[in-house]
Symmetry: none
Subunit: 147 residues, 2 copies
Amino acid sequence: MLIGEYTHTIDSKNRMSLPVKFRKVLGKIVIITPGLDNCLFVFTLAEWSKVSKKLGSGDEELSFLKSDQRTFNRNMFGQAVDVEVDSIGRILIPDFLKELADLKNTGAIIGVQDRLEIWNDKVWQEYKKMAGKQAESLAEKLGGQKE
Amino acid sequence: MLIGEYTHTIDSKNRMSLPVKFRKVLGKIVIITPGLDNCLFVFTLAEWSKVSKKLGSGDEELSFLKSDQRTFNRNMFGQAVDVEVDSIGRILIPDFLKELADLKNTGAIIGVQDRLEIWNDKVWQEYKKMAGKQAESLAEKLGGQKE
DNA sequence: TATCAAGTGGGAAAAAGTGGGAAACAGGTG
DNA sequence: CACCTGTTTCCCACTTTTTCCCACTTGATA
């Protein structure tokens, strides 16, 4: 399971090294996608195939016939990339994804169960504060939903 | 799976090189059709036969009986072309398709699961912004539908 | 303090993308 | 039917980007 928080640099060639702790779990190829709340998601291949199956077309109909589905798929797939982890554990973050998450020379790498998230580190710091404050009330809410 | 976003030039001879990542999947011949939302669709032969099966007489009814379907299919099939990928991975985009998608010297190539889309790059940039804003609500909506 | 592991940076080789010339082809015209 | 003209196709060459590899730095550890 992927847990913890790290801050790593993104060098001039858009390379970012993955924390050693995560490398085994992630494997040789990962998928980077636009995330929600202004970050990037990093999935293992296995995770990604689950996600894409669930959110993608569905085999029955043509996914491009429905406008909502087109929009969602273009966002989801069009801005995703599969990236090979290099021999010393770095990934390459394409420019268009860097821009999307507002990444400059550094980024925060967050382990969230079975995916990573990459955040602009300042944004992450803010988000953390906010999330911390809401934790108790959210716990109640989520707890309630399941019953 | 076709994912990711690239910007390539369309040269004076209407040639556009396909991103290396896509070439294996696409094979030697592709089908280019007018797309939806002012772009072009590019299908593999395999994918195209699925599409045409589903749009065509397909499973249940004769497609030409419905006026809407006739119109849609005339547009889609009538303006489709099959194009051979040249020895160094380029395709030829006919003038009438260029005009349809408002393509000039460059175009954005987007991988959307099992098809490519070719966009006027400025239009794509705009579309992306819009799609990004909608992403979270669409995620909720589509996520809900599947359960 | 020497050593090792993790992370960072940079140079050289390889690959991808782009552009253009010449051959091949088609189509029209004298 | 030969000829001319314009288009398409094929091939080669250049430029830029990416990839691969090696080396340095830092910080923790024995």
